[in-house]
């Protein structure tokens, strides 16, 4: 298989397979988690404004008072790479073209130089949070193979994408094929690893907000 054939497979069969596993995996995992249900709370509720599941879904994106100072890298690094990933994934014109090709949906892209810059910042932030994970006793203690593997699964698409655009290290075709393959790997593993928090984070915040909102506590 030469690089062109590899790219063709990655763009065709590979992508179909990965997207299928991703979609079915996400549906399966959501059912597996949320069909467990929960018991109705029979205690008399106390209504307080601002205390509900929906409030917590949004409010929890803001750090509680004093926490940024306690763990600045977690918050600043975390915000930077999450926002960075969103910008790179959804703001890069060729990505929008791909989505348009599949679904017909389209939106204006961001200037490629800006996306370029964001990609570098995102990778830098990810390296910083990785170093923090290795350095901070609590993070190191909690970390398992999965934490490092999912870091790599997230980092590789950004790195290969950026290298492809820069025409660095490997010929463009090969690097683009590697980029697509790394995205496919990410899609395949996302539903079955901690990366699934991308979906469950909303459910978790909602449950926390609802259970405590029942008590009139805005969490």
């Amino acid at each position: 298989m030469n690089e062109l054939q590899l790219l063709t497979w990655a763009r065709g069969t590979g992508l179909d397979l990965a997207v299928a596993i991703f979609v079915l995996g996400v549906i399966w995992r959501l059912i597996e988690i949320y069909s467990l249900g929960r018991k109705k709370d029979l205690s008399a509720p106390r209504q307080v404004q601002g205390a509900s599941g929906w409030h917590t879904v949004f409010r929890r994106s803001v750090p509680p008072p004093g926490m940024v100072k306690k763990s600045p890298v977690s918050y600043l690094g975390g915000y930077t790479f999450h926002i960075g990933l969103a910008v790179v994934v959804f703001g890069f014109a060729p990505h929008i073209k791909l989505v348009e090709g599949i679904s017909g949906l389209s939106w204006p892209g961001l200037p490629s130089q800006f996306v370029d810059f964001v990609a570098v910042v995102t990778m830098a932030a990810m390296i910083v949070v990785l170093v923090d994970r290795l350095n901070k006793p609590v993070k190191r203690y909690l970390s398992t193979f999965e934490d490092y593997a999912t870091w790599a699964l997230t980092f590789l698409p950004v790195l290969t994408g950026w290298l492809a655009v820069q025409h660095m290290v490997l010929p463009y075709t090969t690097m683009l094929a590697l980029h697509i393959l790394s995205v496919e790997l990410l899609l395949v593993f996302l539903p079955f690893t901690k990366l699934f928090h991308a979906f469950t984070v909303f459910g978790s915040r909602w449950f926390n907000g609802t259970v405590n909102g029942h008590k009139g506590v805005a969490v």
């Binding site: 029979l42 205690s43 509680p64 004093g66 609590v138 203690y141 928090h197 978790s204 449950f207 259970v211």
Partner: protein, 421 residues
């Protein structure tokens, strides 16, 4: 697998629900919950990271309720939960967790970690891994009526003392009273002034109230240990008493976990909504204050600060009332850093204070309270939980800090003018 482990695992499988599944799937091991836990911040030991305290429950969830986990288990690739592991986790689930809930309000993905610890305790208790101290307290509550072994004659003796001191009759088993007042053993034995305070406050407010001979103890060690069966027996007594006396409202005493057990867990334990309301004494005082039924004279002039019991404030939503009450009787009320919703636990809630072998760790964790107090240097410390009060007194004595601790209800009552004066 031993019979007790088997039972514990069965109970754990039952308590795992959609919130728990969602929480475990959301954790990204960021470790921020550690920064919210005084057992970590004061020891620096990462094993006290709140989410880590749930590791056996997480593995069991994965092995029983996820496709991949079940496949791994079938292939013998997963690590089963063992007796030895649960025994090791006792310190993490009980001694070093007071169910204070700070972790649950800082987790960026929204995990209610303390909700999970509470559920995990069900399995720990069923598998025989609850600490002896809380087990004893729970058994005494079920067999004798209170965790400290206080029986009705002791309550009656206390009632007589209070009647002699205040000249106000203490009603017992009065049908149709508006309020049924609950006590904690700690108040019966160590802080009898609470009952006297209630008598004065109710008299001034012109409210009818009563104690109940079959349900005077509010604390619920069954809940703390994580045994819903015992917790149900204890709560049922209160429900039966309140319904027999046809009271409108049951007043939970100055005890945080008693409030949680009765106000939020009670109806779920007995399996039906209550026919009466449950309020913490501070909520009732807040209502009296708002209705102009709490008339006080004079103010304390020394420097006072308030320790928020976790179950009252962060887990119970009662935050403003105590401040407003403090301001009515204190001229020099100062707030500690992090006071209110984010207040730090005394270190002994959720049954932790009943665990003898946890004392050293408890005192270590108390350094957090010490630093809060050092920041404002109060002359006295006010709180609204008899258990916090005992734990605070122990900690203050250990660190040779001369700060008396008082209950808010009794301080309010001291400012109520004598009837007819």
């Amino acid at each position: 697998m031993s019979a007790s482990l088997d039972k514990g695992v069965r109970v754990l499988k039952e308590v795992i629900d959609a919130p728990i599944a969602s929480y475990f799937n959301s954790c990204v091991h960021c470790g921020l919950c550690a920064e919210a836990c005084l057992f970590y911040t004061e020891t620096g030991d990462p094993k006290y990271t709140p989410i880590h305290k749930l590791e056996p429950l997480r593995r069991l969830y994965e092995q029983e309720y996820t496709l991949l986990g079940r496949a791994k288990k079938a292939l013998g690739l997963s690590k089963p939960v063992t007796d030895a592991e649960l025994a090791e986790w006792q310190e993490l689930v009980y001694n070093s967790c007071t169910l204070c809930g700070r972790c649950s309000v800082v987790c960026p993905v929204g995990n209610d970690i303390v909700y999970m610890v509470r559920k995990f305790r069900e399995g720990m208790s069923a598998s025989g891994n609850a600490p002896e101290g809380i087990k004893g307290a729970a058994n005494r509550t079920v067999t004798l009526g209170s965790p400290m072994g206080v029986k009705l004659p002791a309550v009656k003796a206390q009632m007589r003392h209070v009647e002699d001191d205040t000249g106000i009759p203490i009603p017992l088993d009065v049908e149709g009273a508006e309020y049924m007042v609950m006590l904690s053993s700690m108040e019966i034995i160590n802080f009898p002034e609470y009952l006297g305070a209630i008598a004065k406050i109710m008299q001034q407010a012109g409210k009818t109230w009563t104690l109940c001979s079959t349900a005077f103890e509010a604390t619920n060690a069954g809940m703390q240990i994580g045994n819903s069966d015992l917790a149900r027996v204890i709560v049922s007594r209160i429900v039966d008493g309140a319904e027999r006396l046809k009271v409108k409202t049951v007043i939970s005493p100055e005890c945080g976990h008693a409030y949680t057990a009765l106000r939020w867990e009670g109806a779920n334990l007995v399996g039906r909504p209550f026919t009466f309301e449950v309020k913490h004494i501070i909520e009732v005082l807040g209502e009296f204050q708002a209705a102009g039924l709490l008339k006080t004279e004079g103010k304390e002039t020394d420097r006072l600060t308030f320790h928020d019991p976790c179950q009252l404030a962060r887990r119970g939503g009662v935050i403003q009332q105590q401040r407003s009450l403090m301001n009515q009787v204190a001229a020099n009320f100062v707030e500690m850093p992090d006071a209110g919703f984010m207040n730090w636990c005394c270190g002994g809630g959720g049954g932790a204070s009943a665990i003898e072998e946890g004392e050293e760790l408890r005192l270590e964790a108390f350094k957090k309270k010490k630093s809060q107090l050092d920041a404002v240097k109060p002359d006295r410390l006010v709180t609204a939980c008899a258990n916090c009060r005992i734990v605070l007194e122990e900690g203050l004595e250990h660190y040779q800090m001369d700060i008396p601790v008082i209950g808010l209800t009794e301080m309010i009552a001291e400012h109520i003018p004598e009837q007819g004066a």
